[in-house]
């Protein structure tokens, strides 16, 4: 037996070639290596380090939208003024991933490709209409996040496709976003239940709404009924309650060591309401603290 192997990729093409030969990519190691240490899954026999590939760690603006390289860390996202200002729900999420060490090393590409239904960045990015660019042996393709996730830890992408970038379109004027999770502690935590909302206001009415739920189904997904309930009038209590109830009604949670099915269902409506109200407040120009999860209790 030859034992485990490791190579360092110096380009996307290098990485894809190694992956096509069976290697798994590793960047910050905060899912793959930590998961192995926790005994969830052994480390892959063949690894390719992608952390030194040049040009993948940038946050760029494009027509008012953002292009995030796969190696952008959560720390970089949280401290970026445009992310905080116009893509605030993503800052809410990156601010609470793991610990400060997790955020300094964990990447947006790794977070999305790990396909956990409890990942924090997924719901806000899904609501923002983000797409991902995948590089494979046959070339590159772009797909929506809703097409990327196939189940818990399952991707529609094949094992030899590397996430290269995340593209977030420009938000319409009057848009605010938020991500909120139920957490038993503020750090080193995974969402027990989470929700994201992106709300566009015009003339005091909700013109557009995107609402997604986290850790409540096999994949993070949007809830069209909740979005429809919020759109078409002022974001008053009745409308917000109806939208939150619809979001919770779409939940298909599991029961596990962290929460029962019943508790997750009960908290789904609370998290959805907090996410919607925070997004509405931001859309109206109010300055709400980041991360929203730490400041929305009691609402």
């Amino acid at each position: 037996m030859m034992g485990a192997t490791y190579t360092t990729a110096s380009s996307v093409e290098d990485a894809v070639a190694a992956m096509a030969a069976g290697a798994r990519p590793v960047a910050g190691g905060t899912d793959l290596v930590v998961g192995a240490r926790q005994g969830k899954k052994p480390l892959p026999q063949a690894l390719v380090g992608i952390h030194k590939i040049p040009g993948l760690d940038g946050i760029g603006e494009s027509d008012g939208g953002l292009v995030l390289g796969a190696l952008v860390t959560h720390s970089a996202l949280v401290s970026h003024p445009i992310v905080r200002g116009r893509f605030t729900g993503l800052a809410d999420a990156s601010a609470i991933v793991g610990s400060h060490a997790t955020r300094a090393n964990g990447t947006i590409g790794g977070n999305l490709m790990n396909a956990s239904p409890a990942m924090d960045t997924g719901a806000p990015l899904l609501c923002m209409g983000a797409t991902v660019e995948l590089a494979g042996p046959g070339g590159r393709r772009t797909i929506g996040l809703d097409e990327l996730w196939a189940g818990p830890g399952q991707l529609s992408a094949s094992a030899d496709e590397l996430l290269v970038s995340v593209n977030i379109p420009a938000p319409s004027p009057g848009t605010g976003s938020a991500y909120v999770r139920l957490q038993y502690r503020r750090q080193m935590e995974i969402a027990v239940v989470g929700a994201a909302a992106v709300v566009t206001l015009g003339g005091g009415a909700v013109m557009d709404a995107r609402i997604a739920i986290t850790a409540l189904a096999p994949t993070i997904h949007r809830v069209p009924d909740a979005e429809a309930a919020l759109v078409g009038g002022p974001p008053d209590e009745a409308r917000v309650d109806a939208a939150a109830a619809a979001a919770a009604a779409a939940a298909r949670p599991i029961g596990d060591v962290r929460a029962s099915v019943e508790y997750r269902r009960a908290m789904a409506v609370v998290m959805a309401r907090r996410a919607i109200m925070t997004a509405v407040a931001r859309a109206s120009g109010q300055d709400m603290a980041i991360p929203a999860s730490d400041s929305t209790y009691g609402s």
Binding site: G3, T5, Y6, V26, V33, V34, S99, A104, R186, Q187
Partner: protein, 153 residues
């Protein structure tokens, strides 16, 4: 398969030979011979193994040694030269931030990274910044006081 890599720890280059799966922590402790960084949980919960890699705080138990090839690594031994102490280390001693000492190397690395990113953290920001580091003796108050003391200058 064995890989020859160079770990630059506290400014000194150490050529070492490692397996693909070797952790940075075990390599620094067993091959480089610097045992200040501790193994607590071995899965990124406790922070006792924390090192700085190119200035970033990293749980070295869960980081591949191969990935640190060529990077600048700082461990607790390298915070100050020789027997000197940094102001932060002195403050930990003065404020009762050290009891058994097992968490102290990781705490110092985390606090150093925190102060580099945010030179004047509030007590709440200090608690958040150190929340990846567990201490079972001090009750944390002495540690938070020590970091506050240095932050206030």
């Amino acid at each position: 398969m064995k890989y020859e890599i160079i770990l630059t720890v506290n400014g000194v280059a150490y050529p070492v030979e490692v397996d693909a799966h070797a952790s940075l922590l075990h390599t620094v402790r067993d091959q480089v011979g610097l045992t200040g960084s501790k193994e607590g949980c071995d899965d990124s919960e406790c922070g006792a193994c924390m090192m700085l890699i190119d200035g970033r705080p990293v749980n070295s138990c869960s980081y591949l040694a191969c990935q640190a090839d060529g990077a600048e690594i700082i461990t607790v031994e390298g915070l100050a030269p020789g027997d000197d102490l940094t102001p932060l280390q002195s403050a930990f001693l003065a404020e009762g931030g050290v009891q058994c000492g097992f968490c102290t190397p990781g705490m110092l690395i985390s606090a150093t990274a925190l102060l580099a990113a945010n030179p004047e953290p509030t007590p709440d920001e200090i608690r958040v910044g150190l929340s990846g580091n567990l201490c079972r003796c001090t009750g944390y108050d002495g540690i938070v006081r020590a970091v506050s003391k240095v932050a206030r200058g």
